[in-house]
C-alpha cells in the first residue's frame, strides 16, 4: 500500500462546500479509466473490505444508470442508485445520486454530484474527484456558523477513521 499523501497534497479547497480529492498515480490514464469503467474492476476497490460491492447497473453514457449496492459482514447494506451525466473517454466522468437511469429524478437521501477527472502528469496520471453536496449557505454564513470548516480542519482526527475504511 502506498503511504497516505499529505493533507495538502490530497485536498484542494475551492468552494467550501465541495470535497476535492487529488491523487498522482504511477500508472497511465488508461488504467485509471479501466478501473472506473469496468464494473468487474470497480467493485474490487469501491468499498472497504470486508464490505462487498455489487454493480446492479452500469450503463456508461450520459443518462445511463450507475447503481452500486454494498453489503457488510454484519448484514448492513448501502443501496446507491444513480446516473451518469457526462462520459468523456479516458478523461472525465460526471455522476449524480439525484437522478437514476434515463435522467429520472429520484429522492436522494442527501444528493451529490461527483466529477471525476483524469489527466496525464509526468510518468503517470492525475486523478481528481470533486464531490458536491447541495447547500445554499454563503461563505459568510459558513464562517459565522464555524461550520463546514470540516474539510479544512478535521483531517487529523479523520486519519484514524479513514484507516478503518481501507
Amino acid at each position: 500500500m502506498s503511504p497516505s499523501p499529505s493533507a495538502a497534497d490530497s485536498v484542494v479547497l475551492d468552494d467550501p462546500n465541495d470535497l476535492v480529492i487529488s491523487r498522482l498515480l504511477r500508472a497511465p490514464r488508461s488504467a485509471l479509466w479501466r478501473a472506473w469503467t469496468e464494473p468487474e474492476l470497480l467493485k474490487q476497490w469501491w468499498c472497504p473490505k470486508p464490505w462487498t460491492t455489487e454493480v446492479h447497473a452500469f450503463d456508461l453514457r450520459p443518462g445511463g444508470a450507475f447503481h452500486t449496492f454494498m453489503q457488510g459482514p454484519d448484514g448492513g447494506t448501502s443501496d446507491n442508485p444513480g446516473c451518469f451525466l457526462e462520459v468523456v473517454p479516458q478523461s472525465r466522468l460526471v455522476m449524480t445520486s439525484m437522478l437514476t437511469g434515463g435522467w429520472r429524478p429520484q429522492k436522494s437521501w442527501l444528493g451529490f454530484t461527483a466529477i471525476i477527472t483524469m489527466a496525464d502528469e509526468g510518468e503517470g496520471s492525475r486523478y481528481i474527484a470533486r464531490v458536491m453536496h447541495p447547500d445554499a449557505a454563503t461563505r459568510e454564513q459558513h464562517e459565522k456558523l464555524g461550520f463546514f470548516e470540516g474539510w479544512n480542519t478535521v483531517i487529523t482526527q479523520l486519519e484514524e477513521f479513514a484507516g478503518t475504511l481501507r
Partner: protein
C-alpha cells in the same frame, strides 16, 4: 458509520434555505425571541414561522413559549452531527481514492509484467 440521533438530511434541507440559514446564524450569538429574529426580514410572520418550524423539526433549534413570547435557541448538537457527517463523507472518499490508486497501480504493474514476460506466444 457513526450513529446519528438526528436526520442529517433534514439539517441540510433546513440550512439550504437562505432565510433559515440566516436565522441559524443569528442564533449563534444567543437565544432570541421570534419577533426580534423576524425583524430584519421583509416577510409576513406566518411565513417566517414556517421557516422556524422547519428548523425546529430538523433539530437545529428549539423553541419555548413563555406567555405570549416564543423564544428560539440553537441546538449545537445538530450542527456538530452534520459536520461529523461531512467529515465521514470526506473520509469515505479519501479512503476510496487510496484503494483505487493501489488497485490501478497494481493493475498497471501486472499488465506490464504480462507484456514483458508473455506466458504464451500467439
Amino acid at each position: 458509520m457513526a450513529k446519528y440521533s438526528i436526520a442529517i438530511s433534514d439539517v441540510f434541507h433546513a440550512l439550504a434555505d437562505p432565510t433559515r440559514c440566516a436565522i441559524v446564524c443569528a442564533l449563534v450569538g444567543g437565544a432570541q425571541t421570534v419577533s426580534s429574529l423576524a425583524a430584519p426580514f421583509d416577510m409576513a410572520l406566518p411565513s417566517f414561522m414556517k421557516h422556524v418550524s422547519v428548523l425546529e423539526r430538523s433539530g437545529l433549534i428549539r423553541t419555548t413559549k413563555t406567555g405570549r413570547t416564543r423564544t428560539c435557541a440553537l441546538m449545537p448538537e445538530a450542527l456538530s452531527q452534520a459536520e461529523q457527517w461531512l467529515a465521514e463523507q470526506r473520509a469515505l472518499w479519501e479512503a476510496r481514492s487510496d484503494r483505487m490508486v493501489d488497485f490501478v497501480e497494481r493493475l498497471h504493474r501486472e499488465e506490464q509484467n504480462h507484456v514483458t514476460k508473455p506466458k504464451r506466444s500467439r
